[in-house]
Amino acid sequence: MTELEAGRAQTLAPVRNGTALHRYRDVLIALIAFAVLASLPLFTGSKALLDFVIRCSAYGLFATSLNLLVGYTGLTSFGHGMFFGLGAYSFGLIMQKLGVPIPVAFVATLAITAVIAAIIGAICVRLKEIYFAFVTLAFQMLIHSTILSWASFTGGDQGLRGGIPRPVFLGIDLANHVHLYIASCALLILGLLAMRQIAQSPFGYTLRMIRDNAARASFLGIDVWRAKLTVFVLAALFASMGGMVMALFVSGAYPEFAYWTISGEGIFINMLGGVSTFLGPMVGTVLLLLLNDTVTRFTEYHGIVLGVVILFFALGLRKGLLDFVAEWFAHRRDAGEGR
């Protein structure tokens, strides 16, 4: 594209052409990222490193999906972890009890998540701010309590044990560590790409408008309730994907996956990495997991260390790391243009 064309594209139809351009760029970035991740086993035999990436995939999908709610729509969900747990349990139970092929269980889990998220979302998104936060928290704990008390079905506090069967499909054997690793990376990249498309679509901009001024969005003829419900269900699907990756990784599902602390960690990850950049939650995920792994190695009092780090972000930076970096670059650019 010539400079002239680029200039015209920007002035005439900034959003439409801009998004088309961005889409190709995003797909390219995703392909490169996947290629880099997928070639990792060629260079290293470190199982720990691959495990780390798998865990990052699970939490990254979850945290990024939470950011669709928190950062883009302004819906602070305290119960987003319920869909992480729901994904892990549904997938695990379907595989254990029905013995269907993995892709079937995958799609079925997404369908179950969508239905439950639609019901819970329809109740929750009517409420505002702190009430939304608490009602989602209550649903989270309701699901947690159900998992604990319905022991004959879910295994109660023991969790889904006995392993999740992982039959080979399309030549992919998820019982093989490298296969599982590449599948996790693929799910992560596909999920991120899909969420990126949602965030950059006209619907994504509708969400930002709702976040900034719901009343104005409503005056412009947008059905705010429906838009919020839609993003609630979409975010739930990606969180559920994260849960499935986790279930495959640990070959089971445990009540902690559905406990409120997962939601708390998700919020924390978002704050750590930054909520106003798309990749902020991914950065936060890597940071938190690294932090957790290293701190627990050095001291049993990792709460204090983690707490101090959080305080540094909350009181010192007052924003997530990637937000901070992005703003720093923006300042530098502005200063450069001003000269």
Partner: protein
């Protein structure tokens, strides 16, 4: 599910009395924690996620004071006064920096302190379960009311909590300080313009909230086991109470706490594994039918 046990209990006066008293002490302790939470939210507009830690500190302070002095009254005083001071420091040094900031930032600061406080307790008092033990003055025969067993300590606990509720209610509605606090909750800018130090009021309210939670912890110390992280379940439950009752409403906190206490106590008979679930279910039902809680004012 064990509905027969529940029905059997409802038919027996002895069981009814026992379960109601145990529901009342749960409710009263929850009320003390929740009323502090609701007061802090009402005046400072901050959701104090670290409030459970004050309950925990209250219990540990009381236990230590009791072991050192052997006096139950001093133990209660240590629990309440210690957490009041802690609350004041915490508010002035940390929370006051995030007023008006994003709700997420406030929550994050509190979350950080939940982690830090739990570890501090672990370092000072050790990770294992502790128990304060029942003071000898209360190691007497339980009372029998309509065949139900009621330990005298329970009556003291309910009485102290009730007294606190009454003093707080009257203090807020009648006294000058109470009026200033309510004015500050309503319009801090105006109160500040009238030459009243709002920072002092904020600190005071936080200290008061911390003190009430600490008192609850101290009162609970003889009947519960103490462990780092004990504040957390109490925190979640008192959140349910404030949300059910309506954020910022003291009467709501009282009614919500008593309802929750009774649900816990009777629910544990009928639905032993799903008792917690019942509370969350109740919260969902209340919030769906009335989003601002039972006694909450409509959001402006």
């Amino acid at each position: 599910m064990d509905l027969d046990a529940l029905a059997g209990c409802l038919a027996s006066s002895a069981c009814l009395v026992t379960q109601t008293t145990s529901g009342l002490i749960i409710g009263m302790l929850l009320f003390l924690v929740a009323v502090g939470l609701t007061l802090i939210f009402g005046v400072l507009k901050v959701v104090n996620f670290s409030h459970g830690a004050f309950y925990m500190f209250g219990a540990y302070f009381a236990m230590t004071a009791y072991q050192l002095t052997g006096s139950f009254a001093l133990a209660m005083l240590a629990g309440a006064a210690g957490t009041a001071i802690l609350g004041l420091i915490f508010e002035r040094v940390f929370m006051s920096r995030v007023y008006g900031a994003d709700v997420l930032m406030q929550l994050l600061v509190c979350y950080a302190f939940v982690l830090i406080f739990d570890d501090v307790v672990r370092i000072i008092w050790g990770p294992e379960f502790k128990s304060m033990g029942m003071p000898s003055a209360f190691q007497v025969m339980p009372l029998f009311i309509a065949g139900g067993v009621v330990p005298p300590y329970y009556l003291l606990l309910i009485g102290v909590a009730l007294l606190a509720a009454i003093v707080l209610g009257i203090g807020l509605s009648r006294s000058r300080i109470g009026k200033v606090i309510r004015a500050a909750a309503h319009n801090p800018g105006m109160v500040s313009a009238l030459g009243i130090n709002t920072g002092l009021i904020y600190g005071g309210v936080f200290a008061l909230g911390g003190m009430l939670a600490g008192l609850a912890g101290a009162l609970a110390a003889p009947v519960r086991s103490l462990t780092p992280g004990m504040g957390f379940s109490v925190l979640i439950e008192s959140f349910i109470v404030t949300v059910i009752g309506g954020m910022g409403s003291i009467l709501g906190a009282l009614i919500g706490a008593l309802l929750l206490g009774l649900i816990r106590s009777f629910g544990s008979l009928g639905f032993p594994l799903f008792t917690e679930g019942l509370m969350y279910l109740f919260m969902v039902i209340v919030l769906v039918s009335k989003p601002t809680g039972l006694f909450g004012k409509e959001a402006a």
